[in-house]
Amino acid sequence: MLYDFANIVVFLVLTGVLVFGTLLVGRLVRTQKPTPEKNTIYECGEPPFGSSWVRYNIRFYNIALVFLIFDVEVVCLFPVILVLQHFKLISRTLMLVAVGEVAFFVVVLVIALIYAWHKGALDWLRAPESPYSVEESHNPE
């Protein structure tokens, strides 16, 4: 039992040696001729400008979440379709039950899509504030 842990210890030591060893060897071997050009941040060859601490637009996250609805749908439907072929061979009722379940799943996702659409998650240019925002900012402690 304890001997098994020796493998892990050897593995840990090797990991450390590999990571820090390569860094150390690189430091010893490489030439060092820094220029202002070389010291700048790499931004795909462009000269960098501005601070890197900019805020991303929150809309990207909205779009990503909506994308997930479709993505998850496809991922979850593939295995079902593969199994359906087997089900069809066993019994027709079984296949219909499975199709019904999948249909329910799709309906749930469609409701999610309608929700996102209705709430304006699909509009890139959105009306700035809801009419209720005044009430909302007036917030008791």
Binding site: M1, I90, I111, P140
Partner: protein, 511 residues
């Protein structure tokens, strides 16, 4: 394709065992659509539909309770459908109903965005129902995450409020860390047992692998301890409880916490030795040497949790923060039952859940009323409030004394049963001092807690008021406070009725 045989016959029966959850899911979908179709002021109608959904679910639950399913598992062993699970689901649905009532009274939930609010609330409830019935780690984790993610959003529901935003962010970060640790533990258990069965760890608890199994269980416990806010995984609780909208705080402190305990029971069910019939001597034989180690572990967690919660609560001035520490302390009291690990303790814990639900949601209801009247959460501003709102202070007094565990209130029975279980165990094992010391620490903690509960009442009753508040008292408030007070007295006077039910429930999980 062997499992497909008999699927057609089995499916309707299995689906009928999760009828309460199906009702909740349909309610959730309906709520989203109603919210989208109706414009303008929908607050009342949405709450109305949510309450109807909860009641249909409760009705189906009672149906299942009185017509028990022939098998105790459904969906090829994925779900447990015994009465024990149904009892926990009953507590979740009742507390959801009470939280909806609280929401209707709270000024913090804006009337035009309630569609999402109730959707998330019922989603969390549905996830809890699956969490306590899961017998498979994948479903267990899925339910836990559904519950957590809904709670994160609910905690930050009043998004323009900086405290609420802080609460949601802290909850999310702590929750993600805890659930990652738990997932790591689950992966160990899966590696050791080769199955995702939630209690399969018993079979690999041999002297050779015990260290790894215990470590993996500890990691799984981290995720559960986060939900029940046991020290040292409680750091999120005070900030989240203070910042979240108060009905959600009540929900997190009651339903979410009890769901955590339900999950703990599911994983640790083989530890309750007298729930195992003599036929399966194998489990007892395997657990034998380790049983006391588990008890010691829970002893330490329980003592730290209750002592820490009570000592820190002494210095709190914000009412919701104080109740947060008090609910940490209550998690410690309930964990005393996990030290004893027998059927009596399980019954005591289940009874404690019942009374704790009414006490704690009641306490947060009083916090909501005080918030609505004064717009301040600091208890030093409630001086002499008894002159203006006598019903509130009397009702709050009953709830606070019940939380302390003083005789004429229901909290006493809850604590009495827990302490009785501990002392009984002490009298029947060689480790008498181990259990006696736990009981003594528990009693001392109750004494400490009396101070900070009564301090609130002292400020409200004995000190002279600064100025009149002038917000009128409404009959609905009297009615709601009466519900909680009556429930607390009912559970003191007629405690045997629910206790008989609980005995029945515990009998149903003897394996």
């Amino acid at each position: 394709m062997q499992w497909t045989s008999g699927i057609i016959e089995q499916l309707p029966r299995d689906l009928s065992t999760i009828a309460p959850e199906i009702a909740l899911v349909i309610t959730i979908l309906a709520l989203i659509l109603i919210d989208l179709l109706m414009r303008g002021e929908v607050s009342f109608s949405i709450s109305f539909f949510a309450i109807i959904g909860v009641f249909i679910s409760l009705h189906l639950l009672f149906n299942a309770f009185y017509n028990p399913a022939p098998s105790r598992t459904a969906f090829w062993g994925l779900l447990a459908v015994d009465k024990f699970t149904l009892f926990l689901k009953l507590i979740f649905l009742l507390s959801t109903f009470l939280v909806i009532l609280l929401t209707l009274q709270s000024n913090l939930i804006y009337p035009y965005r309630v569609g999402e609010y109730y959707t998330l609330l019922l989603t969390a409830t549905m996830a809890m129902c699956f969490l306590v019935s899961a017998r498979n780690f994948i479903l267990f984790y899925l339910a836990l995450e559904t519950l957590s993610i809904s709670s994160y959003v609910l905690a930050t529901y009043t998004k323009r409020d900086v405290f609420s935003t802080e609460a949601g962010l802290k909850y999310l970060i702590y929750g993600a860390a805890a659930s990652a640790v738990m997932l790591f533990g689950i992966s160990y258990l899966y590696g050791l047992t080769g199955t995702l069965d939630i209690t399969a760890w018993v079979n690999v608890l041999t002297p050779v692998t015990s260290l790894t199994v215990l470590l993996a269980l500890l990691l799984v416990f981290v995720g559960i301890a986060f939900k029940i806010s046991a020290v040292p995984f409680h750091f999120w609780a005070p900030d989240v409880y203070q910042g979240a909208p108060t009905p959600i705080t009540a929900y997190l402190s009651v339903a979410s916490k009890i769901a955590g305990f339900g999950a703990l029971f599911r994983v640790s069910l083989p530890l309750f030795t007298d729930l195992i019939i003599p036929g399966s001597k194998k489990i007892l034989l395997m657990l034998g040497p380790y049983h006391f180690q588990f008890a010691t572990f829970f002893w330490i967690i329980s003592v730290i949790t209750m002592t820490f919660g009570n000592l820190v609560a002494l210095r709190q001035n914000n009412l919701k923060r104080l109740l947060a520490y008090s609910s940490i302390a209550h998690a410690g009291y309930i964990l005393m039952g996990m030290t004893v690990l027998d059927a009596a303790a399980l019954k005591a814990m289940l009874f404690y859940f019942l009374i704790y639900m009414f006490m704690n949601i009641g306490a947060f209801y009083c916090a909501i009323v005080l918030e609505n009247k004064t717009r301040i959460g600091d208890i030093t501003h409630y001086k002499g409030i008894v002159n203006e709102y006598p019903y509130l202070v009397v009702g709050f007094g009953v709830i606070l004394f019940s939380l302390t565990g003083i005789p004429p209130f229901g909290g006493f029975i809850g604590k009495y049963l827990l302490f009785a279980a501990v002392v009984n165990k002490a009298l029947s094992t060689p480790h008498a001092m181990f259990y006696f010391s736990l009981a003594i620490i528990g009693v001392l903690n109750s004494v400490i807690s009396l101070y900070y509960y009564v301090r609130i009442l002292k400020i409200m009753v004995l000190e002279s008021p600064a100025k009149k508040i002038g917000v009128p008292w409404t009959p609905v408030e009297s009615l709601l406070i009466a519900i909680f007070v009556i429930a607390i007295f009912y559970l003191f006077v007629l405690w045997t009725q629910p206790y008989v039910l609980i005995e029945n429930v515990v009998k149903s999980i003897i394996v």
